[in-house]
C-alpha cells in the first residue's frame, strides 16, 4: 500500500491496455461487437462504483442501483429539457453524489451497523423502483420530460460533443468516449486510494475502532467515500441512458444491485481491476449462454457464479495475483537454492 501509484508499473499497464482497447478495438471489431463492448464499459463503471466503496471503504451497499437509476433519470430528464448532454452528464454525477451524501449522513452519523446499511440501501432502491413505476400519467413530467412509469422514458438524446448539440456521437465514438470515462474513473480512483484520504479509508475498512482511536472521524470519511461511489454510479446510469436512448424503472431494480455485487465479488473485492474483469467475464458468459440452446441458460449462469464464488472466494484478480506471486517466489527459490526469502 505504501507504494505510490505513480511508481506502480501495474497502473501504467492497465491504463495502456485501456487506451489500446479504445483505439484498436474499433478498427478490428465489427459494429455489433463494439456496441456490445460499450455495454460492458458502462457496466464496468457501475461495478467500479461499488468496488470502490466496498473494497476501499468497507461499505457494502445492497442498493447501488438506486444511484445508477437516479443518474440515468437525471440525465434523461435534463437532456430532454436542455437539448444537449454535457450539463446533464455533470448533473447525473452531482445529484446522485448529493443524494448519497444525504443518505450517508443518516446512515453513518446515525451509527447504523453494516447490516442495517445494507438493508437501508436496499429499501431505498425498492422505493425508487416503486416510485418510478407509479409515474405513468401525463401529470408526472418534469418540463418536457414525461417520466412514463413502467414504460420508461424513450428518445433520450444521444451524447453530443460539448457545446454542439447537433454533433451526436456515432456508436464508435460513443465507445471511445465511454472507454475514456472508464479510464478516467480508474485513474481518479487509483490516485484517491493512494492518497492520505484513501489510506485512511482503507484503515477504516480494516478497523473502524482503531481509525477513530487515531483521531480520524470515521463517519465523515465513510460519508465522503459513499458519496463518491454514488456519483460514479450515477455517471454510469447516465452512460446507460444515452447508450440505450431509453430508460425504465428496471434501472432501479434489485437485479442491477445484485449483479453489481456479483461482478465485484467474482472479480475481487479490494481491487479496481477485479470489478472490470467481473463485468466482462460474467456479461460475456450471459450473452454466450443466452445464444446457446441450453436447458436453462440462467440456471447454468447461476451455477457458474456459485462455482466462482466457492472456488475463488477472494475473486479472480486476487487469486491470480497470489498464484503469480507464489509462482515467482517458488521459481526464485529454485534458482537460488532455497535462499529467495533471505
Amino acid at each position: 500500500m505504501e507504494k505510490s501509484v505513480l511508481r506502480d508499473p501495474g497502473f501504467y499497464v492497465m491504463v495502456a491496455i485501456g487506451l489500446a482497447a479504445m483505439l484498436i478495438l474499433p478498427v478490428v471489431l465489427d459494429m455489433f461487437t463494439i456496441m456490445q463492448i460499450t455495454q460492458y464499459v458502462v457496466l464496468a463503471v457501475f461495478a467500479l462504483s461499488l468496488g470502490y466503496i466496498w473494497g476501499f471503504g468497507g461499505i457494502l451497499s445492497f442498493g447501488q442501483a438506486a444511484f445508477f437509476g437516479l443518474g440515468a433519470y437525471t440525465f434523461a430528464v435534463a437532456a430532454i429539457n436542455i437539448g444537449e448532454t454535457t450539463i446533464p452528464l455533470i448533473l447525473a454525477f452531482a445529484i446522485p453524489c448529493l443524494f448519497g451524501a444525504a443518505l450517508g449522513y443518516f446512515i453513518f452519523y446515525g451509527r447504523l451497523s453494516d447490516v442495517y446499511l445494507g438493508v437501508v440501501t436496499m429499501v431505498v432502491t425498492l422505493l425508487f423502483w416503486k416510485l418510478a413505476n407509479h409515474t405513468a400519467g401525463p401529470e408526472y413530467a418534469i418540463g418536457e420530460a414525461r417520466l412514463g412509469g413502467f414504460n420508461g422514458i424513450p428518445s433520450i438524446p444521444v451524447m453530443n460533443i460539448p457545446g454542439e448539440p447537433e454533433a451526436m456521437l456515432d456508436p464508435v465514438q460513443m465507445f471511445q468516449v465511454f472507454m475514456g470515462f472508464l479510464i478516467v474513473v480508474y485513474i481518479v480512483l487509483r490516485l484517491l486510494i493512494a492518497s492520505d484520504f484513501g489510506r485512511v479509508s482503507i484503515g477504516i475498512r480494516e478497523n473502524e475502532t482503531r481509525a477513530s482511536l487515531l483521531g480520524y472521524d470515521v463517519r465523515r470519511h465513510k460519508l465522503v467515500v459513499f458519496a463518491i461511489g454514488s456519483g460514479i454510479a450515477g455517471l454510469a446510469g447516465a452512460m446507460w441512458a444515452t447508450y440505450q436512448a431509453f430508460i425504465d424503472p428496471n434501472a432501479f431494480s434489485m437485479e442491477m444491485s445484485a449483479k453489481a455485487l456479483v461482478w465485484v465479488m467474482a472479480g475481487g473485492v479490494g481491487t479496481l481491476v477485479g470489478p472490470i474483469i467481473g463485468v466482462i467475464l460474467l456479461q460475456w458468459l450471459t450473452l454466450k449462454l443466452g445464444t446457446m440452446e441450453l436447458l436453462n441458460s440462467l440456471a447454468v449462469l447461476g451455477a457458474i457464479m456459485m462455482v466462482l464464488v466457492l472456488a475463488l472466494p477472494k475473486g479472480i484478480v486476487p487469486t491470480l495475483r497470489k498464484l503469480i506471486v507464489d509462482g515467482w517466489t517458488l521459481a526464485r527459490r529454485k534458482k537460488t537454492g532455497g535462499k529467495a526469502d533471505e
Binding site: M1, E2, D196, R199, V200, I202, G203, R205, E206, N207, T209, R210, S212, L213, L214, G215, Y216, D217, V218
Partner: protein, 245 residues
Amino acid sequence: MSDWTNILETRGLTMQFGGVTAVDEVDFTLRDGELRCLLGPNGAGKSTFFKCLTGQLIPTRGSVTFKGEDMTGWNTHDIVNLGIGIKTQMPNVFDGVSVYENVRLSSRRKHMAAQAKELAEKTLERCGITHLAKREVGTLSHGQRQLVELAMVLAAEPALILLDEPAAGMTGEERDRLARLVLESARSAAVIVVEHDMVFIRQIAKFVTVFNRGAIFREAMIDEIMADREVQEIYLGKQANVASA
C-alpha cells in the same frame, strides 16, 4: 481551555448497564506527567472506567475533564484529538496493511507527510520493531501486534497515554521492552496503565489505584499496595505473592 491543575479528572463517574453498576461514582485525578497503574480483579470495573475515559462508552452520570475541558460523552476521535493516546485491551490495529503504514497513519494525523514519515520511522525504532516495518500486521504474533499498537499511540505524541492491558500475551523480553518504553514515555506524558500482570506492574508502577466493584478501593504507592493484606488476599490473590517472591 481553562486553567487546570490535574490533566485528567473524573467526578462522580458512573456507568450502569441495566441494573448493574459497573463504575460507581468514581472520583479520580491524575497529575500532569504522572504514571498511574490501575489494578483490580476481573469485573472490578477498570476496563469500563477506561472505556468511559476514551469515549467508547458514554457514562450514565458524572464528568470527565481533560486539561480542564469537560469531554464527557464526546466521540472517541474528538477525545483523541485533544491529545490522548489510547491502546485498547485487544490489539486494535490495521491487520491488512504493513506495520510502517499503521504507524504512519497515526503520525500523519498531526504532521505533514515528510515529518510524519520521519516520526513513524523513529517510533518504529524506539519500539524496536523496525525489522517488522514491511510485514503485514495480520501476520504478526499477539505480542508484536501489541507493540505495533503502542507505536501507533506514541507516534501521535499524546499528552496523556491510556494503556489497557498492554503486556497481555507478550513474551518476557517483549514485556521488559514495553516496561522501558512506558517509563520512557512517562517522561513526556501522563500515563494510565490498566494491567493484571503483576511482574509488569512492579517494573513500572509507583502510585497505584486499586478498583473493586466499580469503585476505587485503595490509592497508594505500589509497595504499600503490595504489602496491604486486604488487597493481596482479596484482589490480587496468589499472583501478588508470586510477584513479590
